[in-house]
Symmetry: C2
């Protein structure tokens, strides 16, 4: 990477006592569904990997396939399809029961077990001597959505994480349609759960999310799917993330007004249906704390979180840093 | 923080598949003990909090006090005084026995218990249902050094974490002497373990570390203390950090040629006695992965780690990023 590239702006600061100790640079875009950029920072035309922040977009083929009705699935399953969950027992057990409902099992999942990415949840798993399964992988709900789609469409689920599989081809097509972009030759990598990650311009991801917020003009089936996904997440926000998590906390308070979804390496996406706005952001350094506080500032700035809600959500918007004895040490705060 | 400040250079990149996904900016200085800057990047005159990276400097009063000889302490205790340890049982038990040796107990520690900062060690603690004590705090060895000094000098240990206590006053004086700087009115904050953190210019910290590498010209007692500290860490590198940790891995391989010490929020310090060089670095965003890979590059660049050693230390110098199934996904690599 050339040293001379223009630096993205500082979006978040970490203070300690009398000074700013660390800070996070990044780039973000807030757009309407006609492609108008309403707000931005940094280089929005550079590529990024959307990681798990696009799970609500990846749930579109699942809902469009008719799998939800065919298998008698509910809000909680749609929320899990959009989730990066904590692997708490409610998440893992719901995934297990879901896979049985569609005639498969946890063994069919092609993601690997891991301790929760939430330290508190991981400590509980270890303390309880939980036997970790593939259902505990934070992406197991997304994978269950993929498998439900394949089952519904009569496709062999084997190898569903490979780019050549119809499941992945369908996902890339949806991203291209929603982001109005060509992803045939953008960079590729693999995600933590084994599926391909597809390089995408931040601006195109912002447009895709704007269309999640305001799908008017898309075909009727897609509009229905998008509304169903928004409703599912709003009605089961615990399933999207879990105890103590930003996504869950924001959606519990904001309901359908804020579909927010984190991704690895400092990515966040959001759709604000009332405002008709889509958001995509990427923190340069990949830190989750940077991405969360930046997303909180965007939620505030664009009127999704008012003063009263901000008070309730303070621990997510401007987290306090404490020492191990619980004494105040500093804050994380937006810088834009 | 003004948006217009000049950006520090990119020091470390995280790749995934075909592209650089995230990157870490920062600043570093490599100096000789006469104050000559041999190598640098970014703003070395800006303030930073040295955090735990200065523990080898903070051990100077402990060794100079004569506590090591008076209480029959060994290399492992000196290494613990310089440590941010994993809270593995060998760390916690050694701290406990040390405090009993000086007529105190774990209860005298004024730091709070916490699960290990190493995820693997924390998982083991939870799984083993370890009853966490203050001795498990990653700074408990440093605190035991403070308490040993107070005991040796006949000072009331109570309140030893407060800036007004003789223990802390002595530490600030050592930092001023070693860094040839005035810290009387620089910013203050509190550290994770409760002691004050003192704002310091990166350049001054680099000088202090250069004098750890090449103390010639300092008074005889200080020279002896510095050599004792370097020897203690080199002989007991496990006690400085623990299983799987960068500091321990580098010192196990390099011995006295590299005293390296991590601090929170992306800080690293080092002393290379053979080259007579001191190093201070701070990653802007505070990430440990950025600080470790940047320090690895400096160890390579300045001849402390040769090609043969680099092969052995590869997992620390350029860590591979894998997915949850263990499949290669990308790398962390230096960019300077």
């Amino acid at each position: 990477m050339p040293q001379s590239i223009a630096a993205n702006p500082i979006l978040v600061e970490a203070t300690r006592g009398d000074m700013v100790e660390s800070f996070h640079r990044g780039r973000y875009v807030v757009m309407t569904s006609d492609g108008t950029v309403v707000d931005q920072g940094g280089d929005i035309d550079a590529l990024m990997y959307p990681r798990s922040a696009i799970k609500p977009l990846l749930a579109i083929p699942f809902v469009e396939s008719g799998a939800v009705e065919a298998f008698g699935l509910e809000d909680k399953h749609i929320a899990l399809a959009c989730s990066s969950h904590n692997g708490e027992e409610e998440h893992a057990q719901t995934v297990k029961a879901w896979l049985e409902k569609i005639g498969l099992s946890v063994d069919t999942l092609e993601c690997a077990p891991h301790y929760s990415l939430s330290l508190n949840a991981a400590i509980k798993q270890a303390s309880d001597h939980v036997s970790l399964t593939k259902a505990h992988n934070n992406c197991s709900g997304k994978h269950s959505g993929f498998l439900s789609t394949a089952q519904q469409l009569g496709e062999d689920p084997s190898g569903y994480i490979e780019e050549s599989h119809p499941v992945q081809q369908r996902l890339i097509k949806v991203l291209e349609e929603m982001g109005d972009c060509d992803l045939s030759s953008t960079p590729r990598g693999i995600d933590g759960c084994g599926i391909p990650v597809i390089g995408m311009r931040l601006r195109d991801l912002g447009l895709a999310m704007a269309r999640m917020a305001d799908p008017a003009g898309l075909d009727a089936k897609r509009i229905d799917a998008i509304k169903r996904i928004r409703k599912g997440c709003a009605n089961a926000p615990f399933m999207v993330a879990g105890t103590g998590r930003f996504c869950t906390g924001i959606m519990e308070e904001c309901g359908e007004n804020a579909l927010v979804k984190v991704g690895a390496e400092g990515v966040y996406c959001a759709a604000f249906p009332k405002q008709g706005l889509g958001v995509a952001l990427k923190i340069d350094d990949g830190t989750q704390r940077g991405a969360e506080v930046a997303m909180g500032a965007i939620l505030r700035k664009h009127g999704v979180i008012d003063d009263a809600k901000a008070e309730v959500l303070k621990k997510y918007l401007t987290p306090v840093l404490t020492n191990w004895a619980g004494k105040y040490a500093g804050d994380l705060r937006p810088a834009f």
